[in-house]
């Protein structure tokens, strides 16, 4: 049996800091009931990878609460399937670095001791996609690659030759995942003590001549969430049937922490068009082109347009919201009007009362 480990990295969250005061980037709520990390984690589980490390970072409270021991993802405590890896103290993530190996230093033993693991899959925690790693792993092992890079089909040509001519292209691509031989990572972690590079992609680039590196271009839907407008757009993408179909209706489910909510209740005045609505809501107003998360209440006469409401939004009566993002547990008082724009949605931070 091929033994594979998955590791999910934190990412630079500066452009999302309005959401990350008290949580890491990986637990930003998304799509009515998910957190960003649910996608990367479900990808691993759906590809039968049962040894997973998640970088916890400094603001780890919501991550631990969300993941527990991984039971909702069929990960098991007894066989130690899931580990939350503590952050390096007094360290902050850099913007340009996709996978910063320094984050793994406190867990060096965790990786080095797993000598039966042959390969590690690195994923960032801020991407929305539904990847099947099984064929990619087959490709990786059958071609005897040292490194397989899974890149988005976004903005550049296919990867070809030597590092230098490809540097620009790499920069322009979004990296969905990197599959690497485990021993390469162990070596890199050891060399870091002697000032070796900590940027995984950079390391691969520099050693490309000694390694079998292959790039796979992914044709499906994906979004990287690195700023507010990307967050906004990715949420609204869920109103597109093909996106919903690809993310949620295929054979590979996206798992998340379960909550006990009542089905959503609509009253006789509710008018809802083109909306993605989670359970536990009570809806009595007008909703258009919006994402409504669990346990939200929309008062009568209120209009929610082109907006994203995270969990426990409490909207009074006769409110008007357009191009607005509400973080968790925001209360909007009666008759409030908030109008952002498509390019610059208004964001209200967690727990606010407006």
């Amino acid at each position: 049996m091929r033994k594979v480990m998955g590791i999910i990295f934190q990412r630079w969250d500066h452009e999302l800091q309005i959401f990350t005061m008290n949580r890491g980037i990986s637990t930003i709520p998304f799509g009515g009931r998910y957190r960003l990390i649910d996608f990367a984690l479900s990808n691993l589980v759906n590809s039968n990878i049962r040894s997973i490390g998640v970088l916890g970072g400094a603001k780890y409270g919501s991550l631990i609460d969300h993941l527990g021991t991984g039971q909702e993802w069929s990960l098991h405590r007894k066989s130690q399937d899931l580990a939350i890896l503590p952050a390096l103290e007094n360290y902050s993530i850099e913007p340009g670095v996709y996978f910063d190996l320094r984050e793994l230093l406190p867990s060096k033993l965790f990786i080095e001791n797993q000598t039966t693991i042959q390969m590690i899959i690195f994923q960032p925690s801020n991407q929305i996609n539904n990847l099947d790693f099984k064929p990619m792993m087959d490709e990786h092992f059958n071609s005897m690659n040292d490194v397989t890079i899974v890149a988005g089909n976004g903005r550049s040509d296919e990867f070809i030759g030597s590092p230098n001519e490809n540097r620009r292209k790499w920069r322009n691509r979004e990296i969905l995942a990197v599959l690497v031989r485990r021993t390469l990572i162990s070596q890199a972690l050891q060399r870091m003590n002697q000032g070796g590079s900590y940027d995984l992609l950079n390391l691969i680039r520099r050693n490309q001549e000694h390694l079998r590196v292959k790039m796979l271009i992914y044709d499906g839907y994906y979004r990287e969430i690195s700023d507010v407008s990307g967050y906004y757009e990715a949420n609204l993408d869920l109103l597109e049937a093909p996106v919903r179909k690809e993310l949620f209706e295929g054979p590979r489910m996206i798992y998340t922490k379960s909550k006990d909510n009542h089905p959503t209740q609509y009253d006789n005045a509710s008018i809802v068009n083109n909306a993605w609505i989670a359970s536990g809501c009570q809806i009595s107003g007008i909703i258009q082109n919006s994402i409504i998360s669990r346990e939200s209440m929309i008062g009568s006469g209120s209009v929610i347009k082109n907006s994203i409401l995270m969990q426990r939004a409490h909207i009074g009566n006769d409110v008007y919201l357009e191009h607005v993002i509400l973080d968790k547990a925001v209360t909007i008082r009666d008759r409030t009007v908030l109008k952002g724009s498509k390019d610059k949605p208004i964001v209200i931070s967690k727990g606010s009362v407006i």
């Binding site: 799509g31 209740q265 609509y266």
Partner: protein
């Protein structure tokens, strides 16, 4: 490990008056209110009452129920000592016997109870809709030094003959008990909720177990025997919402009550949540052309048509032009384009083809099941 009070939940009932809904599952596993199963109410009550050890007695089609209950972790009832234990009929050295009645089911599991040697035993069933803190009843039971306390409900006089009716004195001491009396002497009905002192229960069940003529039923045999023995028996009046959903009509009515402006059963109350063990489904989608009013919509639904005054369980699809009215659609029901569903209950997985019409406001509730598939 010694426990103060252990719960015994009777979940073996077939519920044959619910027709096809209980063809493949036991009554306590029937879906209610879009996402619950009937047994969620009793199990959630146990959690809220700090009853952390519950035996669930099953017999009829227990598969769905067993895997639904699992360890009880959905109701926070999995504990290092205690938790939920499924108690099916079993074979022992002395032979094998199906449960012959509610009392016999517990009689055959005395050794389960003995392993916890509780002070009191709470007996409940898994097919009623209510929220109740049994710990208050237990406190009253203890304060009264009662051998048995029976949960009681005031019912309409014309309903009384469907229940076991209790006559009590001012201190709620039960003077008389009649099972389904033709001419009821009162309207305090037994809810089928009993708290026994454990030594008393043990003795009574052993006595009943060997009686040839007994039907081994609590209401018919054990309770009358208790009263005949001059034991300390009290009623505990319960004032809250309680529904028996044993018939198609009552099953339908209790759910339609959830659509009222202020439903008598508040399922949004965070302090007394009804827990359930549900699969992970994405939010529901309501399209630009759709219209949804006065309804409960569960996760995973996709709605392109019109839904009025209805309850939709998980992953129901309503295609364009279809109209659903005054209906209850269980899991995975698919309604084709321009179809109409009115005043109907559609069981799990039912598919209504495009343009079809099902049910009518003028007729009795239509209960529709899925064609039998090859097993």
């Amino acid at each position: 490990m010694k426990k103060k009070c252990v719960g015994m939940l009777l979940a073996g009932g077939q519920g044959s008056r619910l027709g096809i809904l209980t063809k493949k599952v036991a009554k306590p596993a029937v879906l209610f209110g879009g996402k619950y199963r009937l047994i969620d109410f009793s199990l959630s009550n146990c959690y809220h009452s700090n009853i952390d050890t519950v035996g669930v007695l099953t017999q009829y089609q227990p598969l769905e129920l067993n895997s639904y209950i699992s360890t009880g972790s959905a109701w926070s009832l999995d504990n290092v000592s205690g938790g939920v234990t499924i108690l099916p009929p079993y074979q022992s050295r002395y032979g094998a016997s199906w449960y012959r009645g509610t009392a016999d089911a517990i009689y055959q599991n005395l050794s389960y109870l003995q392993s916890y040697d509780p002070e009191h035993v709470l007996i409940i069933s898994g097919d009623h809709i209510y929220k109740m803190d049994y710990s208050e009843m237990l406190n009253t039971h203890i304060k009264n030094h009662a051998d048995l306390t029976i949960g009681g409900l005031i019912v309409e006089p014309e309903e009384a003959s469907r229940f076991g009716i209790m006559s009590t004195d001012q201190e709620n001491r039960i003077l008389e008990f009649e099972e389904k009396p033709e001419n009821p002497k009162g309207n305090l009905a037994s809810m089928g909720i009993y708290i026994f002192r454990w030594p008393v229960l043990k003795r009574l069940l052993k006595e009943d177990g060997v009686k040839e003529e007994s039907q081994h039923d609590f209401g018919k045999n054990v309770i009358p025997a208790v009263l005949a023995q001059q034991l300390n028996v009290f009623a505990y009046p319960f004032m809250g919402y309680w529904r028996d959903v044993g018939t198609i009509q009552s099953f339908y009515d209790a759910q339609m009550e959830l659509l009222l402006q202020n439903p008598p059963l508040n399922l949004f109350d965070k302090e007394f949540r009804i827990y359930s063990n549900h699969e992970s489904l994405p939010p529901h989608y309501i399209s630009t052309e759709a219209s949804v009013t006065d309804s409960l919509i569960s996760d995973g639904c996709s709605i392109f048509g019109e839904v009025k005054h209805s309850i939709l369980s998980g992953s129901v699809v309503v295609e364009e032009g279809a109209i659903i009215e005054d209906s209850i659609l269980l899991k995975n029901v698919k309604i084709g384009k321009n179809a109409r569903v009115n005043h109907a209950i559609l069981d799990e997985g039912v598919v209504i083809a495009a343009d079809e019409q099902v049910g009518s406001a003028e007729q009795a509730i239509l209960l529709l099941g899925k064609e039998e598939s090859d097993a």
